[in-house]
């Protein structure tokens, strides 16, 4: 196994305006590594969607990003309510976001579908009442 870099971010669940800071930081690090801009775009969008979800539904959590020779792996872990029906949650336009959250322009029901669309691999590990861990991979 070659070199790898690990970045961890604590996501604050109480402040909407700060959501996106972690994905922005990762984006800038990937630029310094000289990663192809289309890959950076996919990682940034997928991670931003995940970050927003953690803020809206789970009161924050932790994101670990591992960059290695072959790929970028993002692990988003929270202790939120869990996802009762993954099938429904993966449908475009389906959202359980509260009305006040929707009024801010979030909760369009595109979060999880976009995360899947922009990554090469996505796994959801969720337990209702315990939390959710989403692992996404983007290959170089």
């Amino acid at each position: 196994m070659g070199d790898q870099l690990i970045f961890t971010y604590d996501i604050d669940g109480s402040d909407f305006t700060r959501a996106g800071e972690a994905s922005s930081s990762v984006k800038n690090k990937l630029k310094m590594l000289g990663v192809n801009s289309e890959i950076i775009r996919r990682v940034a969008i997928a991670m931003y969607e995940g970050e927003i979800n953690m803020v809206i539904h789970a009161d924050g959590g932790q994101i670990t990003v591992t960059v290695s020779d072959d790929d970028i792996v993002m692990v988003l872990a929270d202790r939120g309510p869990g996802i009762p029906d993954i099938g429904k949650a993966m449908q475009e336009g389906y959202s359980t976001a509260r009305p006040e959250v929707r009024s801010l322009g979030f909760g369009a029901g595109m979060g999880l579908p976009n995360m899947k669309r922009y990554t090469d691999q996505m796994e959801i590990d969720t337990v209702v009442g315990k939390g959710t861990t989403i692992t996404m991979k983007v290959a170089f």
Binding site: L5, G20, S23, K27, M32, G34, I40, R41, S68, D69
Partner: protein, 468 residues
């Protein structure tokens, strides 16, 4: 390729530099370092925005541009006044007052950049209409914005409006008309731009989007402003009618002016380098939706806020509005200007990954790992005492071989404390009266020598040390 790719017109006046950290803290691209008590600008990181000129309390950052005497180098000269020039004067009822004064100053003819701006507006409207699906487009009029995108936002390069800047269109038309009028060769005609900023000085030497600019020299508004005053006649009956720009053209000098000529509803007009950096980040992250056009000016207030202007940018914006108020919307149309062959860029602007750490991904990955480890060692105060703007940039400089960990005064202090502890320990053993064993003497000399080296190396870049 183009060796002038990273040419810049913001320079350091070394004699005035006090080695303080004001400039490094205000530079939006972290392009300045202080070493050995003097600032130095890193060419490839600098985007010529001129923010350091504004913030340096010792006036050690200067803009370079041409003196007015360049008009003596040509048989025939045409002045290209930027619309921001008009905004410098009080009670201006007509641009003819300024244009006539330019002729009295020694120019043979004038061509208003604001006239060409109206052609750019028309071409932009057409382009936006025919490329609707590729929106949003980003304005390409401010060279510092293009340079910023070129080094920091590769994903946004394709969004730049591939249309020549008003000053370039003006220069092309002015030269063609002068040649027709005088019969002179192109090189005998001087096209002189009167500029609000140093960014356009660099642009004229190394343009983006085209191979060579038609602008021969660039002089500063602040130089021309006082020279024009004695020649300004407000009696309109004595003025030759030269003015040929409408509201759209004159409006280009202030923030929101360019979008004003586009007739689009969904736009964003941002000004000020720090603000536009945020806008570009958000555009890159696709957080801004439904936009057709994004106008960005590096200077606060737009071009009237350039570092080579005289008047306060907000007052200048009001004056511009007042001047344009009674003008027709537009006086220039592409169909009346056959001189201009193409309004479009001939070349793409390519990404310049100047902030990339290594030459390959593998090398960059290794270097970033070192950067992370180093950054963790630093106190995270971003105090700037090392000469780099943040602890993170110091770490990057070290990994690139341009600085050393001891440049951090906190790391240095802890190293010195460590060495002095060791020395104290060695010498305290001797209190019983025994003489110091030879190996301890060697160790002591080693510690003292390390201490001297550590202290001497502070603030001296690695590269310089290698030279010594």
């Amino acid at each position: 390729m183009n060796k002038d790719k990273f040419i810049r017109s913001v320079r350091l006046k070394e004699s005035a530099c006090q080695g303080c950290i004001n400039c490094i803290k205000h530079c939006p691209t972290q392009a300045i370092r202080v070493h050995n008590g003097k600032a130095h600008i890193i060419d490839k990181f600098c985007i010529d925005c001129g923010r350091c000129i504004r913030y340096c309390p010792h006036h050690a950052k200067i803009a370079i541009y041409d003196p007015l005497s360049v008009i003596n180098n040509f048989k025939y000269t045409v002045a290209l006044p930027a619309p921001s020039l008009y905004a410098q004067y009080n009670n201006l009822t007509s641009t003819d007052i300024v244009l006539n004064a330019l002729l009295k100053l020694g120019f043979d003819d004038v061509y208003e950049v604001s006239a060409a701006a109206e052609l750019v507006s028309e071409a932009s409207r057409e382009y936006i209409k025919t490329h609707e699906k590729e929106a949003p487009f980003i304005s390409s009029a401010c060279p510092s914005v293009i340079r910023l995108i070129r080094v920091k936002f590769p994903a946004l390069l394709s969004r730049l409006l591939p249309i020549k800047a008003p000053v370039e269109v003006a220069a092309e038309i002015a030269r063609a008309r002068a040649m027709k009028k005088t019969g002179l060769k192109p090189e005998e005609i001087g096209i002189i731009f009167i500029s609000p900023c140093p960014s356009k000085v660099s642009y004229a030497k190394a343009p983006l989007g085209i191979e060579k600019s038609n602008i021969d020299n660039v002089v500063a508004i602040k130089d021309i402003y006082p020279l024009l005053l004695p020649h300004m006649k407000h009696d309109e009956s004595q003025l030759t009618p030269l003015s040929n720009s409408g509201r759209i053209g004159i409006g280009w000098s202030s923030a929101g002016g360019e979008v004003g000529g586009l007739l689009v509803d969904n736009y964003l007009a941002g000004d000020g380098i720090v603000n536009i950096l945020r806008v570009l980040e958000e555009l890159e992250d696709e957080k801004l939706h439904g936009l057709t056009f994004v106008e960005l000016s590096a200077c606060t207030g737009g071009c009237v806020g350039g570092t080579l202007t005289v008047e306060n940018e907000y007052i200048a914006a009001t004056k511009t509005k007042r001047l344009a108020k009674y003008q027709p919307v537009s006086k220039n149309h592409l169909s009346d200007n056959p001189e201009i062959e193409s309004m479009y860029w001939a070349d793409d602007v390519d990404y310049e990954p100047v902030f990339r750490l290594g030459n390959t991904f593998k090398e960059s990955l290794r270097m970033m790992s070192e950067v992370e480890q180093l950054t963790a060692r630093f106190p995270g105060l971003d105090c700037g005492s090392c000469g780099a703007p943040t602890c993170q940039t110091l770490a990057e400089d070290i990994v690139r071989g341009d600085a050393t960990p001891n440049d951090c005064i906190y790391v240095l202090r802890s190293n010195i404390a460590d060495l002095s502890q060791k020395i104290r320990h060695l010498t305290r053993e001797r209190e019983s009266g025994d003489s110091m064993p030879e190996e301890d003497k060697v160790l002591l000399r080693k510690y003292i020598s390390e201490l001297t080296t550590d202290l001497a190396s502070f603030g001296v870049p690695e590269r310089q040390k290698r030279k010594d």
